[in-house]
Symmetry: C2
Subunit: 235 residues, 2 copies
């Protein structure tokens, strides 16, 4: 089946043109339904640094990530920024629309060139009603998100900064990493500042912690990516 998404992707884009339909969450969705779905979905490409929606804006679309990587972050009242989650192809973004009207409580950033299909809640609801299978897939996906948030909470609660940084890198690697000859490598760069948003610590303290982690060989940095050496198994 020719995918109309192809037309959207710029020639020189690193974004794969795999169709949304190929995402695992759409397995089993009926072809006719999918055609209809495709008709109502708004396909878009976001470049690095662009936002899908911003904190405080009116809740609108639900996005399915087709390719790329999204960072969800929030600015708190006191001005602190915090990174809540990273999302990858096959994940939803903006699922808050399922539970309430109002405004987005967070901002979704494209971390790299990212392709999405956006849907109105009502349309998405309809598709789920017509394809209960899809509902089940989403439930599975969201249950994973909950597990991953649980880990984040655990992590925040316990131990010293060095351990916390290490564990968060492990968690990210398990979801967004690739096995290499040297160990698990995180597929996107992370600055000390971004890590500080992730663990809720001061940037300088992150630098200190990373210095120790690197001197003990628990973390390597190469080609601007973090690598966790060893025959390290996910969670």
């Amino acid at each position: 089946m020719k995918c109309s998404c192809d037309d959207l992707v710029p020639r020189d884009s690193p974004v794969s043109s795999a169709c949304v339909k190929d995402l695992t969450i759409f397995d089993g969705v009926d072809d006719d339904d999918f055609e209809r779905f495709r008709g109502i979905g708004v396909r878009r490409v976001f470049r690095h640094g662009e936002t899908l929606f911003v904190q405080g804006g009116p809740i609108g679309e639900i996005f399915v990530i087709k390719a790329g990587r999204i960072r969800l972050s929030k600015v708190l009242e006191d001005g602190t920024e915090i990174t809540l989650d990273f999302r990858k192809p096959g994940d939803l973004v903006g699922e808050e629309a399922f539970s309430r009207p109002g405004n987005y409580p967070l901002t979704a950033w494209a971390m790299e060139e990212t392709m999405t299909c956006g849907f109105r809640v009502s349309d998405f609801n309809r598709l789920i009603l017509d394809n209960p299978d899809l509902g089940l897939k989403l439930i599975g996906n969201m249950s994973q998100r909950i597990l991953s948030l649980n880990s984040r909470l655990e992590n925040a609660a316990s131990g010293n900064l060095e351990d916390r940084v290490f564990r968060i890198l492990s968690a990210i690697a398990s979801e967004h990493g690739r096995k290499t000859s040297k160990g698990y490598s995180i597929t996107f760069p992370l600055t000390h500042e971004e890590l500080s948003y992730l663990v809720g610590a001061h940037r300088v303290s992150i630098t200190r912690a990373l210095k120790r982690l690197r001197s003990t060989g628990k973390v390597i940095k190469e080609d601007n990516r973090f690598i966790l050496p060893g025959d390290w198994t996910a969670e």
Copy 2:
């Protein structure tokens, strides 16, 4: 419709005998399907302090809370205990079963007399397939759980302990509180120790923080429940 749950609840129990079917997540579920569902669901009452399942045990049932209150907690490698979430009637417990086989990563405690219906994943899946509406409700419910976990993360990341304690009390009150003449009151008692599991801090530090919160009138304790005074609105 006579609810077979009635037979299960002890005479002197404070647990309401409202039927599972009356829970909002089952709105719109077809009567016949529900009959079938009821046949396969295992109804149980847990007394205060009993566990629905324990961390490390094999993943089995998914529970729907009919009445009562559940605390989800986890013991970390270093021995620290952390409270991940509270769940109330209408919520699921054990939804990790939707995303993976294996072992429960946490323990579910009954905080008071609690009535549940437990289902095997395969049965629950079937019900969802037959009642896409139910799937949609679950998606909404899980999306709320994600939002609430996001708030927990926010909270953990920012500010001093006093603020963190205050914010977590606010969050709990908004989900598990009742409006009274003095303000929002949390419907179950919380010891300083439990609060320390919630915010990931030392028990003694919690006592210190609460002392300040009470002296400034931001928090009241009465009848062993915390009350947040003022015309305080959720979130």
